[in-house]
């Protein structure tokens, strides 16, 4: 009798364990969409709105039939077609729940970008916007131009950017958006040391002047080039939510602690509630100046653990999950109620090299040794072994390839060649065995090459709590094929930065992210000589006489000098004067295309000298429930998600 009871219980447990999601719980069947080509009239109409038009403008203009408007999702990236998506749910059911990482706004530093970055809740907007192709599009400013001399009395006669603001824009509180709000927001960004644009710093006069309610002058304190031009990358920098615009007099970072802590923006969503370490909720702004959002409400759930987020997606308690880890993609794809969406290659898994090290970290000063290391890594195999299909691709840039536009095709590539790697090492005197015979063959399994009694053992910085150690171990195995030994360090949070700053390393890996349209952004931060001193370098112009003389700026600029800044270059990676010249050209370029050309040349130089090894362009992966429609991560940057097009289908 007892045995039968036990058997029954066991059967019930196993039967329950065997239940799966899918058709049993009434989840919607996968949706299909119909794609149609845009005609010339439709394309021309969209072009009038820059990067922010969608099919609703086409319907309003009578260029698309009304009956298809309800179902359409955004037009395609190349503006050649549009999709007719699945039927939406009723308006009162358009609430989306998004799973994001742990609350980024609990620490004082994070609060500076409350509700804007790294999670853009759609509340605040910027003067310019990042296009799908990393171009700069109008945002709260409709156009901008360089004028010979601005209106700032503290910078008389200096070339200046003049921004013309979009009329008729209202804050969520009802007030008009004017130039005073721009000045307030940008001055506060400067005061909070959020400025990354080579423009402003925490000291010295403000660069921002209100010309009239819809015009603002921004006179860069730091100029690039000689004779003085102006900071030509400034509009590209303003796409970043560090420069989000909020109402004059408000201080969103004080939300919950001070009466001035109001979150008031102009975006397609208005701030509703925030509970620390739990969630932030926004609701649709029905008075938005642009395309009205389809969603009525978005709940961003702040969930620390990424596995928990993924499991919550399976249950449907979360509709969208950001940044699915590579190990979880397969499990997501196996779920019948979840779709996996990828952005174009987003961030590059990169191997930094200490090219200026002192003994014993000077082995990679040799270009041939660096080149041998690069040639010993079969990047195609590395990708296939570590990422699911479509999740990563071979790239030859340290940032998103789209940031270089068509110039990306001019950048060289590493080609895997183990024999050449071994030959290069032999030529440098790094040989196998006792070094007596230069056999130009592979070392015996696991043997590390030697030179004058010293092994070719490189030290790789690693924070094992945060780094993807299996990837590092894979690289270690591949390098060993050429006889290069790599020791993977165990540098915790306390030791990593001091060790990197001191130069006691040979290799480091990272996955830098770019949320800025400046094509030279990452190149400047990691390999530009001037980044070894101050990120914002006052090397170009003496502000007293306008001549380049290399004297220090009158306003010492220590922006982003924090030792905890993850991207601070230090002298160890500095790539030299030729590279610096390319970066200088990029910063001085009058057009985005020219800036891209110069940046591509800089990147090509880095690869040609094997100063850096880009290993994999990793796509940002999103997990979505099947009923989420209109979600298109058209730009790989984290903070650029177009929530206005997203809706929930039946």
């Amino acid at each position: 009798m007892r045995a039968r009871r036990l058997l029954l219980v066991a059967t019930l447990v196993l039967a329950t364990a065997g239940c799966t999601d899918g058709d049993d719980n009434g989840a919607p069947a996968p949706q299909t969409t119909e794609t149609k080509a845009l005609d010339d009239a439709q394309k021309a109409h969209l072009d009038r709105f820059g990067g922010y038009a969608d099919e609703r403008e086409l319907v309003a203009a009578g260029l698309l039939p009304q009956e298809s408007a309800v179902y359409e999702v955004s037009v395609s990236l190349d503006r050649k077609s549009y999709k007719i998506g699945p039927e939406p749910r009723p308006a009162d059911q358009q609430t989306l729940t998004v799973g994001f990482q742990a609350d980024p706004w609990t620490a004082a530093a994070g609060k500076r970008t409350f509700a804007r970055f790294p999670l853009d809740a759609g509340v605040n907007e910027t003067l310019t916007r990042l296009g799908e192709d990393y171009s700069v599009q109008p945002g709260l400013a409709t156009r901008w131009e360089v004028i010979a001399a601005g209106t700032n009395p503290d910078y008389p006669g200096r070339p200046t950017w003049r921004f013309f603001l979009r009329p008729g824009v209202k804050f969520h509180s009802g007030g008009d958006f004017t130039a005073a709000d721009v000045k307030w927001s940008l001055d506060r960004a400067r005061a909070q040391n959020l400025d990354t644009s080579l423009t402003m710093s925490s000291s010295g006069p403000s660069s921002v002047v209100v010309v009239d309610p819809l015009t603002v002058d921004i006179t860069p304190r730091i100029l690039t080039g000689s004779p003085p031009s102006t900071n030509l990358r400034l509009p590209e920098s303003f796409v970043h939510q560090f420069y989000g615009i909020y109402r004059d007099g408000t201080r969103p970072e004080l939300y919950g602690t001070d009466p001035a802590g109001t979150v008031d923006g102009t975006g397609p969503f208005r701030f509703d509630t925030y509970t620390a370490n739990d969630s932030i909720t926004v609701t649709r702004n029905d008075a938005y100046w642009g395309p009205r959002a389809r969603l009525g409400r978005i709940n961003f759930k702040l969930v620390s653990d990424d596995t928990t987020r993924r499991l919550a997606l399976d249950t449907g308690s979360i509709d969208v999950v950001f940044d699915v880890g590579r190990q979880q993609v397969a499990a997501l794809r196996a779920s019948s109620d979840v779709q996996v969406v990828t952005a174009p290659p987003t961030y590059t898994f990169v191997m930094y090299i200490n090219v200026n090290g002192q003994p014993p970290y000077d082995k990679l000063k040799s270009e041939n040794v660096r080149r041998a290391l690069a040639l010993s890594i079969n990047r195609d195999e590395f990708l296939r072994g570590n990422w699911d299909a479509g999740m990563a691709t071979v790239v030859n840039h340290v940032g998103p390839p789209s940031a270089l536009g068509s110039s990306y095709s001019t950048v060289s590539s590493y080609t895997f060649n183990l024999n050449e790697a071994r030959n290069l090492l032999d030529d440098e005197g790094w040989t196998c065995g006792n070094g007596a015979a230069r056999a130009r063959t592979a070392c015996r399994g696991g043997e590390i090459r030697q030179k004058a009694g010293q092994p070719l053992q490189l030290y790789m910085l690693a924070n094992r709590a945060t780094d993807d150690v299996p990837l590092l171990e894979d690289l270690q195995r591949r390098a060993l094929e050429a006889g290069i030994g790599i020791t993977i360090g165990d540098d915790g949070a306390n030791r990593f930065t001091p060790r990197k700053d001191s130069g006691a390393w040979d290799l480091d890996t990272a996955q830098p992210n770019q949320n800025d349209a400046n094509p030279a952004f990452l190149l400047m931060r990691q390999w530009w000589s001037n980044a070894t001193q101050n990120f914002v370098a006052c090397w170009a112009v003496d502000t007293t006489d306008g001549q380049a003389d290399g004297q220090p700026c009158p306003y010492p600029d220590s922006n982003l000098q924090s030792p905890n800044l993850p991207f601070r270059a230090g002298p160890w990676q500095a790539a030299g004067p030729t590279f610096d010249g390319h970066v200088k050209q990029a910063l001085e370029a009058n057009t985005l295309e020219r800036a891209r050309e110069a940046s591509a040349a800089a990147m090509d130089y880095l690869i040609d000298r094997a100063t850096v090894i880009p290993l994999a362009g990793v796509s940002r992966v999103y997990g979505l429930r099947k009923h989420v429609a209109g979600f298109e991560p058209v730009n790989p940057a984290l903070s650029f998600v177009r929530w206005t097009n997203v809706y929930l289908s039946k």
């Binding site: 530093a109 959020l194 620390s304 499991l311 308690s317 030792p563």
Partner: protein, 316 residues
């Protein structure tokens, strides 16, 4: 009894003093300059000058010797002031006061569940020694004690939240949210408690008075729970006390996985940001919970066993 209580209370104070001193000393030995950390929080992006750091150190009291710093800190701590968080600027006592009830709720729920599972299981396993029931209970106890908390958490989420959707995956605020994290913690401590209960009851079941009771025809349930368990309670109470204290301080992983906004997540964030005032506050509060629970356990001892009361606090 009064002497017993007084002696135990004196130990409580002594242990707290020792823990506070060791925690403070370890914090002062930790790498990194606290003045730099606070400078970066209050003036992010700026490079700290030696003069600015010296002034900040003076404001923070870091220019004094470590023993003097400790006395100052301890004096504040006994008045409820645990300092200010280096990363958020909030008072540590405020953060702890906000989160302690949530962790306490989680720990208490886990303990109740643990007792509900383990006492009957341990008694049954002892009574049906070497039977199939005994083997199942012992294997289950071993698994519960051996499996890491995060693994148990994910398995419970997978089967009870994802597959059958009985409970939510994460969150805070309802009994449903409490269920899975409490169960995760409970299974871990239930394993140990079951084994102790079984061993203690086995010990007692061999006693002559139990045999006599059996011979006299005392009903089994009464024999087990009125006579055997009561006399086996002392070691079990000890383990329950240790479990509760451990649950209060050791729910890090579970709180993180379930996004339970308790002391555990506060401590994890503090460790990640090298926020030593918060870490010190957390350690002190956890240690205090530990000694208070043990003190309570000692009092329960005395209540359960008159010999302890009469002996004036000496252990059996």
């Amino acid at each position: 009894m009064a002497r017993y209580v007084a002696a135990r209370f004196a130990w409580l104070i002594a242990v707290l003093l020792a823990v506070s001193a060791v925690t403070f000393a370890l914090g002062s030995l930790a790498p990194g300059d606290p003045a730099v950390i606070v400078f970066e929080r209050t003036r992010p992006g700026e490079s700290p000058t030696p003069e600015a750091l010296a002034e900040l150190r003076k404001d923070m009291g870091l220019d004094r010797t470590v023993p003097v710093q400790y006395l100052h800190w301890f004096g504040n701590a006994v008045q409820g002031d645990l300092g200010v968080s280096w990363s958020t600027g909030e008072r540590v006592a405020t953060s702890v006061r906000e989160r302690l009830p949530r962790t306490a709720m989680l720990a208490a729920s886990a303990l109740v569940l643990s007792i509900v599972i383990s006492i009957p299981a341990g008694v049954l396993a002892a009574y049906r020694r070497n039977s199939a029931v005994d083997h199942i209970c012992r294997v289950g106890a071993l698994l519960g004690a051996s499996l890491p908390g995060f693994l148990v958490a994910y398995v419970l989420i997978l089967y009870l939240a994802v597959r059958v959707e009985l409970f939510p995956v994460f969150g805070f605020g309802s009994l449903a949210n409490l269920a899975l994290p409490a169960l995760t913690l409970a299974l871990g401590s239930a394993g140990t408690l079951t084994r102790f209960t079984r061993a203690a009851v086995l010990d007692v079941l061999a006693a002559p008075y139990v045999q006599a009771g059996k011979a006299k025809g005392v009903p089994t349930a009464r024999l087990l729970f009125d006579h055997a368990l009561r006399n086996a309670a002392l070691p079990v109470v000890t383990v329950i006390g240790l479990s509760l204290a451990g649950l209060l301080g050791g729910a890090f992983v579970v709180e993180w996985i379930f996004s339970w906004p308790g002391l555990g997540t506060l401590a994890v964030n503090a460790i990640n940001t090298k926020d030593y005032p918060v870490i010190q506050g957390f350690v002190l509060v956890t240690a205090a919970a530990y000694v208070v629970v043990n003190f309570a356990t000692d009092l329960v001892y005395a209540a359960l066993d008159p010999r302890i009361r009469l002996a004036g606090g000496h252990d059996r």
